[in-house]
Amino acid sequence: MFSHVFMQHAFLAGTAVGLAAGLVGYFLVLRAQVFTADALSHVAFTGALAGLAMGLDARVGLFAVTILVALGMGALGRRARPGDVVVGGVFAWILGLGVFFLTLYTTKRSGSGDGAAGVRVLFGSIYGLSATDTAVAVGVAMTIAVAVVGIARPLLFATLDEHVAAARGVPVRVLGYGFLALTGATAAESTQVVGALLILGLLAAPAGAARRVTTRPLAGLAVSAAIAVGSVWIGLTVSYLVPKTPPSFAILSTATATYLMVIAGSSLWAGRRHESDRRDPLQPGPIHGVPETAR
C-alpha cells in the first residue's frame, strides 16, 4: 500500500490533521462549541471558493476567511463565546456567499477552472495531495497541535470555571479568541483532507468518545487525538482495499463507529458499577458526610 506516493502523502497529511482535530475537538466538546465549529467548517467552503474565484490559491482564501470569521463571531458573542443565533445567522449567509463564489468560479473561469472544485472542497480530496501540499498540511497541523497543548492548562481552567479563572488572572477573553482562531485554522486545514462538510465528524466523534472513556482532562485530550488519528489510518486503509469507497466516508464511518461502541460500552459498564464511580469530575461531586437522601 505504501509503495504508492499518493498513499504516503495521504497517510502523512491525514495523521497530522487527525492529531490537530482530535486535540481541538476535545476542547470544542468541553466548551459546548461544536456548533461554532460546524459553522466554521462551512465558512471554510466559502473561503476556499472565494480564493479560487479570485484566482488565488485556495489555501490563502481558506485560512484567511476562516480565521477572520472565527474571530468575528467571537466579537459578536459574550466573552468570545458566540451565541447560537449569531452562529446560525452568520453561517447561513456565508454559505449563500459560497454558492455565489462557486457560480462565479465555474462560469467565469470555465476555461482554467473545473466544475469539480466545489465538490472537492466540500468532500475533500486526500488522494490528490502533492508533496508540497502534504508538507504545508503537516506543518500547519503540527503548529496547531503544539499551540493547543501549549495553552491546554489555562484553557481548561477558563473552560471549566470561567469566573474563577478570570478572578485568578487567566486571560479568559484572549484564550477564547485564541481558541476560536485555532478552531478556524483546523477547519481550514482539514478541508483538504476530509472536506469542509465532514470535518465536524473528526472534531466531534473522537472527542465525544474520549469524554466517555476517561474523565481526566489531559488523558482525554490524548485519547481523543489517538482516536482521531486511528480513524484516519483505518479509514484510509479501508478505502484503499475497497476501491469504490470514498476515503472521507471510510474515515468518518470509523470515527462514528468508535463513538457508538464507546457509548454502548460505557452504558454497560455504568450499569454494572455503582453510580458514583462514573461521576463526571467536571460536575460538582457529592458532599461528604451528607447522606444521599438529604441532598
Partner: protein, 306 residues
C-alpha cells in the same frame, strides 16, 4: 436566470408567471416560507439551531438515496429527516434541547452526538452519490437547491404536509411555548415536556424536509433561523413574533425569486443575502432605538414649579 428586467414590476411579474416553473417555484417557496416562519420561531426560542441544521443535512443522503433507488426525492427527504429526528431524540444525552434535564455536561455530550450524526450522514450521502455515479451536478443541486425543477405534484405534496404541520403546531403551540420558556415550571404543572420536545423535533424534521427540497440541504437555515431571529429582535410578543416571522420569510422568498430570475447568480445566494440583510437591519435598528430610549428618559426631571 434569464429574462430582461424593466422597471415596470407588474409587467415583470406577469412575464415571470407566464412560465410554469416559475409559478411552481413561487407556490412552493411560499408554502415553505409559511411553514418555516412559525417553526423557525420556536426553534430559535428553544435554542435548537444545531439540531435544526443537522436535520436539514440529514435530508441530503435521503435525497441522494432516493436518486440512487430511483424514487421521488420528496420521499427521501421526509423519510430521512423523520429518522434523524428519532435518532436525535433517542440517543442518550441528547433529549432535544430544553427539556429541562440538560446541565453543562449533557450539553457537551448532546452536541458531540449531534455533530457526529451530521458528519456521518453527510458522508453517507456522498457515498450514495459516488456509487450512483452522477456526482457533480446532483451534489450541488441537492446541497444548494434548485428552485427551478419543482413539479406541480411536488407542490401538492408540499401543501398537504404544510397544512398538517401548521395544524399540529397550532395544537401544541401554547403548551410548547410554556415548556420552552420555563421547562421546570411547565413540568411541575404537569405538562409532558419530553413529549412536547419530541413532537416539536418531528415538526422540525418535516419543516426542514419541505424547505430543503427548495433551498437545498445546506441553505435551509436561511429560511428557518434568519426570519425568526429578526422577528424576535423586533418584538417579544409570541403571537406577533410568529406573524412577523412568517411575513419576513415570505417576503424573503419572493424577493429572492424575483431577483434570482433576473440575475446570473444562484437563488440560494439571494435567499440568504436578503434574509441576512433583514437580520442586520433589525439589529442595527434595535441598537439605535435602544440608544434613543435610554437617552430620552434620563433627561433630568423638571424642577418643582416655582
Amino acid at each position: 436566470m434569464s429574462g430582461s428586467f424593466s422597471w415596470n414590476l407588474l409587467a415583470d411579474l406577469k412575464d415571470m408567471w407566464s412560465l410554469a416553473f416559475m409559478v411552481n417555484a413561487f407556490r412552493a417557496g411560499t408554502i415553505a416560507a409559511v411553514l418555516a416562519g412559525p417553526v423557525g420561531w420556536f426553534m430559535v426560542i428553544r435554542r435548537q439551531n444545531f439540531a435544526g441544521h443537522t436535520l436539514a443535512v440529514v435530508g441530503f443522503p435521503g435525497a441522494a438515496g432516493a436518486i440512487w433507488a430511483g424514487v421521488s426525492i420528496a420521499y427521501g427527504y421526509f423519510a430521512f429527516c423523520l429518522l434523524g429526528a428519532l435518532a436525535i431524540a433517542i440517543l442518550p444525552g441528547s433529549g432535544g434541547g430544553s427539556d429541562g434535564s440538560a446541565g453543562r455536561g449533557d450539553d457537551a455530550d448532546a452536541s458531540a452526538i449531534t455533530g457526529t450524526v451530521q458528519a456521518f450522514v453527510l458522508a453517507t450521502g456522498m457515498a450514495f452519490l459516488a456509487w450512483y455515479g452522477g456526482f457533480l451536478d446532483s451534489a450541488t443541486s441537492l446541497l444548494f437547491g434548485s428552485f427551478l425543477g419543482i413539479t406541480t405534484s411536488q407542490v401538492t405534496v408540499l401543501a398537504a404536509v404544510a397544512v398538517m404541520s401548521v395544524a399540529g403546531l397550532g395544537l401544541i403551540g401554547r403548551a410548547l411555548l410554556f415548556a420552552s420558556i420555563d421547562p421546570y415550571v411547565a413540568r411541575a404543572r404537569g405538562l409532558p415536556t419530553r413529549w412536547l420536545g419530541f413532537g416539536f423535533l418531528v415538526l422540525l424534521a418535516v419543516t426542514v424536509a419541505e424547505v430543503g427540497q427548495i433551498t437545498g440541504a445546506l441553505l435551509v437555515f436561511a429560511l428557518l433561523v434568519l426570519p425568526a431571529a429578526t422577528a424576535q429582535r423586533l418584538t417579544a410578543r409570541p403571537g406577533l413574533g410568529v406573524a412577523v416571522s412568517v411575513v419576513l420569510a415570505v417576503v424573503t422568498v419572493w424577493t429572492a425569486l424575483f431577483v434570482g430570475y433576473y440575475s446570473p447568480y444562484p437563488i440560494g445566494f439571494w435567499l440568504t443575502s436578503v434574509a441576512f440583510a433583514g437580520y442586520v437591519a433589525a439589529h442595527a435598528g434595535g441598537h439605535v432605538r435602544d440608544r434613543l430610549a435610554t437617552r430620552t428618559p434620563r433627561r433630568p426631571a423638571p424642577a418643582v414649579a416655582r
